[in-house]
Assembly symmetry: C2
Homo-oligomer: 416 residues x 2
C-alpha cells in the first residue's frame, strides 16, 4: 500500500447522479488534494486520528535538519521576525486554533495532552466557585474526562461530588449546587451534539462555570466559545485538526478569568519571563501561563503545518458539507439497517449531530474488523458501536457511496 | 552552514600531545559519527538541547509517511510483535531510560513535560506522608521545580511550607518535619552535583520521601536510583538524552510505591484497559498509570531513536570521559580566568561535579553572545554565569581545546 494523490481516486461507475452532482458543486473539493491517504482506503476515522497533511513531512524535515540540527539551541529565539522562532510557536498555533473555536488568540494555550488540559481547566474552574461542591457531568462522558475529575477530586481530599447524569438531562440537573459542568460537546460514541450555547447560558444563570471538551468539535464544525459565553474548554490536536498521533492539545480560558483563575500546573514556560529564572511564579499574560513545560516543537510543528488546511475555509461551508455527507450516509444506510439489525444512534436533527454517524450493531467488533480489512476504516467502540467519522476537508459523497458499498458487502458476508 | 559528518572535523594543528593522546585512547570516539552537528561549531549546550542523532530523520520519515500516513489509526496496535506499535512505544522508551538511571522498566513512565511530571511526583509523594507539612528544596533549584511546588501547594490550600535552603545545607535541614525533599541532582547554574545516594538515605532516616530532578543527570553519567533507594524522580528528554526540542520527559516511581501512591493526573491512557472505556479509573500496572493522555508519537519516536546512541555504552566509561573533558577544560581555562576575572563556580571535586563547567564572569551575557557568534555555543544563565556542557558521546578533547581558543579570542577582544 502506498500513499496516493487522492485526486486520482476514480469515481465509482455506479455513483448515483445526485451524489455526483453534490461533489461537482462542492466548494471544498479542492482541499482533498492536500491530504495524503493510502490508495484503496475510505478513511472514516479522522475523528480518532486525522490523516497526514501534505505540508507536514516537508515541514518536519526542515525542523529536524534545519532548526534542530543546524540551529540547535539558537532556534528558540532565531528568526522571530519571520515567525520561525520556537518560543512563539505555541502562540502561533494557538492563534490558528482560536479562529476555529470562536476565541481570541490570547485565550488559547497549546501544549500538553487533552487530559492534562482538562485537569488544569477543572482545577481553575473549581477554584473560582469555592463555595460549591458538585461537578455535573455526562454519565457517558469520554473516560478521560471522568478519570481526570476523579483524580483531581481525590487530590483535593474528595470534597466534590461527581454527579453523572445522561447527557440529555444536563439542563434538568442544573442547580445552585453545581460548581462546574464538565461536558463534551459531541458524544464520542453516539455523535450526539449538545447545545453548547444553551447549556452555557443555563449554567451561567445558575452560577456554575462551564468546562467544555471540544475533542469532536474543533475543526469539525464552527464553534463559538465567546459567543456562548463559555468559561473553559479543551480540545484535541490529533482528530479533526490533523496534527498527528499524540499531537499537543489546547486549552481555552475566557479572558475574564485570566486575572482570577489560579494556575495549578505552574512551570517555567508559563512564567512572564522564563529566562529571568526568578524564584517565584509570575504568570505570563494570557492563557499561555497554563502550559508549564517546554513546548513540544516537533509535534507542534506538525500541528502548525496541518492547521494550514483550514486556511481560507469558511466553517459554515465546512458544516454544510459535513451535514450533507452524514445525511447521505444515513440515507444510504437505511435499507442495510433494516436488513441487518443496525440501529442508528446518531440524532437525525442537524442541531444535535456532530460530524460522525454511529450504529449499534450485532457483532460490531467483528464487523468493524472485516470493514477495516476491506479498506473502510471506522471505529468500534465498546460495547456494540460502529462509528464513522466524516471530514469535509477530504471526503466526497463518492467516498460515502464507496463506504456504504463496503459495509453492504461485509454485512452480506461477501469476501473481499 | 550545513550539517556535517563530525568525523571529518580536522584536528587543530596546535593541539597539545596529551590531548591528542587522550582522544586517541577514547573508547567512545566512535560515537561521535552518530551525531549531525553544524560545521565549524563547538556545541557545548547539549545540556540545554541535545543535537540531532543521525537515526532520527530517517525514523521520523518512516513514522510520518509509513506509520501515520499509510497505517493511520491501525498503527496504534499494528506490528506489536515487531515492537512497532504505538501503544507500547512509551514502554519501549521507558525501558531504554530505565537502564541509564538504575530503574526497572516498569518503574519508569515516559510522556508529558518535566514540569508536569514533577507535579505528579510531588503530589504522589506528599500524599504518602500525610502528617507532614514541609517540602524541603534548594533555594536555587531550577525555577520550574519551585513553581510546580508553589502551584501544587496553592491548589492544596496552601497547607505546605516550601522551605528553601542552599543546596550545600540540605542535610543539615532534614528533620521529622520534612514530608518530601525536592532536589535537582546537578545544579543547572553551577554544575554542583549533590550526593543523591547519601541524601536519599538521610531523608529516609528522617521519614521523608525524595523527589529527584535528573534533568542534568540522565544520560550525563550513571544514575542508580534503586541503589540509592530514591522514591520518585523526573528527567528531561531533550538534554543529554538528545530527544529533540520539547521531547517527552520521564517519571520514575519506585516499585514499592506503585500500590499506594495516588494518581492525581489520571487519564484514559493510564487506565489498565483504555479501550474498555470504563467509567471509573483503574490504574495500569506499573508507572505507566502516571501518564494520562495519548502518547506523543512523533516526539517519542525521535527520543526512541536518539536513545540508541547509548546502546553498548558503559555509563562508567561515559562518566570517566566526562570528567576528563571537564578537568581538561578547567585546566586550560585557568590562565584565562586569572587574566579576565572569571571565577569557577563548578566544584573541582569529581564527586561534586556534573557534566558541565560554569564561571561567573563580568559581562557574561555579552561574552556568551560573542562566543555563539564565533561558533562556541554555551549558555548564559542569569545573572552572570557562563555555562559549558560536555557530552562524552560527541565531544573530544580537541573540542575542548577549540572551545578554549574561542573563549580566549573573545575575552581578548579579537574579532572573529
Amino acid at each position: 500500500m502506498t500513499l496516493t494523490d487522492t485526486q486520482t481516486t476514480p469515481v465509482p461507475a455506479d455513483l448515483p447522479a445526485d451524489l455526483l452532482d453534490l461533489d461537482a458543486r462542492d466548494p471544498l473539493a479542492h482541499k482533498r488534494a492536500e491530504f495524503l491517504l493510502p490508495a484503496g482506503v475510505v478513511y472514516l476515522d479522522g475523528n480518532s486520528l486525522g490523516p497526514l497533511h501534505r505540508s507536514v513531512p516537508e515541514r518536519i524535515e526542515r525542523v529536524l535538519r534545519g532548526e534542530w540540527g543546524e540551529g540547535l539551541i539558537r532556534s528558540w529565539t532565531a528568526n522571530a521576525e519571520a515567525a520561525l522562532d520556537w518560543m512563539a510557536l505555541p502562540d502561533r498555533v494557538a492563534a490558528k486554533i482560536a479562529r476555529l473555536i470562536g476565541a481570541r488568540p490570547h485565550e488559547v494555550a497549546v501544549g500538553d495532552s487533552t487530559s492534562v488540559n482538562l485537569f488544569k481547566a477543572l482545577a481553575a474552574a473549581l477554584a473560582l466557585v469555592p463555595d460549591r461542591r458538585v461537578i455535573l457531568t455526562d454519565a457517558d462522558n469520554f473516560p478521560t474526562d471522568l478519570y481526570v475529575a476523579q483524580g483531581l477530586n481525590a487530590l483535593l481530599g474528595g470534597r466534590y461530588e461527581l454527579r453523572r447524569v445522561p447527557n440529555t438531562e444536563i439542563a434538568a440537573h442544573l442547580s445552585l449546587e453545581i460548581a462546574v459542568t464538565l461536558l463534551t460537546e459531541v458524544d464520542y460514541r453516539t455523535g450526539r451534539r449538545l447545545d453548547l450555547a444553551g447549556l452555557s447560558a443555563q449554567a451561567r444563570e445558575h452560577g456554575a462555570l462551564t468546562v467544555w471538551d471540544l475533542a469532536h468539535s474543533a475543526g469539525a464544525f464552527e464553534v463559538d466559545l465567546n459567543g456562548a459565553g463559555a468559561d473553559f474548554a479543551v480540545g484535541c490536536g490529533y482528530k479533526y485538526l490533523n496534527g498527528g498521533p499524540g499531537a499537543p492539545a489546547f486549552l481555552f480560558v475566557a479572558e475574564r478569568h485570566h486575572a482570577g483563575a489560579p494556575v495549578a500546573l505552574s512551570g517555567w514556560m508559563g512564567h512572564a519571563d522564563p529566562f529571568e529564572m526568578a524564584r517565584d511564579f509570575v504568570p505570563a499574560p494570557g492563557a499561555r501561563r497554563f502550559v508549564p513545560g517546554t513546548p513540544q516543537v516537533l509535534s507542534l510543528s506538525a500541528l502548525d503545518a496541518a492547521l494550514d488546511a483550514f486556511e481560507g475555509v469558511e466553517m459554515a461551508e465546512l458544516r454544510a458539507k459535513s451535514l450533507s455527507l452524514t445525511d447521505t450516509f444515513i440515507g444510504l444506510m437505511e435499507p442495510l439497517c433494516a436488513a441487518h439489525g443496525l440501529m442508528l444512534v446518531t440524532p437525525r436533527a442537524h442541531a444535535q449531530r456532530g460530524s460522525q454517524v454511529s450504529y449499534r450493531a450485532p457483532d460490531a467488533q467483528a464487523v468493524m474488523r472485516r470493514l477495516v480489512e476491506r479498506g473502510v476504516i471506522g471505529d468500534f467502540r465498546t460495547p456494540d458501536i460502529l462509528r464513522f467519522g466524516f471530514t469535509p476537508l477530504y471526503h466526497s459523497h463518492a467516498d460515502v457511496w464507496r463506504a456504504v458499498q463496503g459495509i453492504r458487502a461485509v454485512l452480506e458476508g461477501q469476501t473481499p
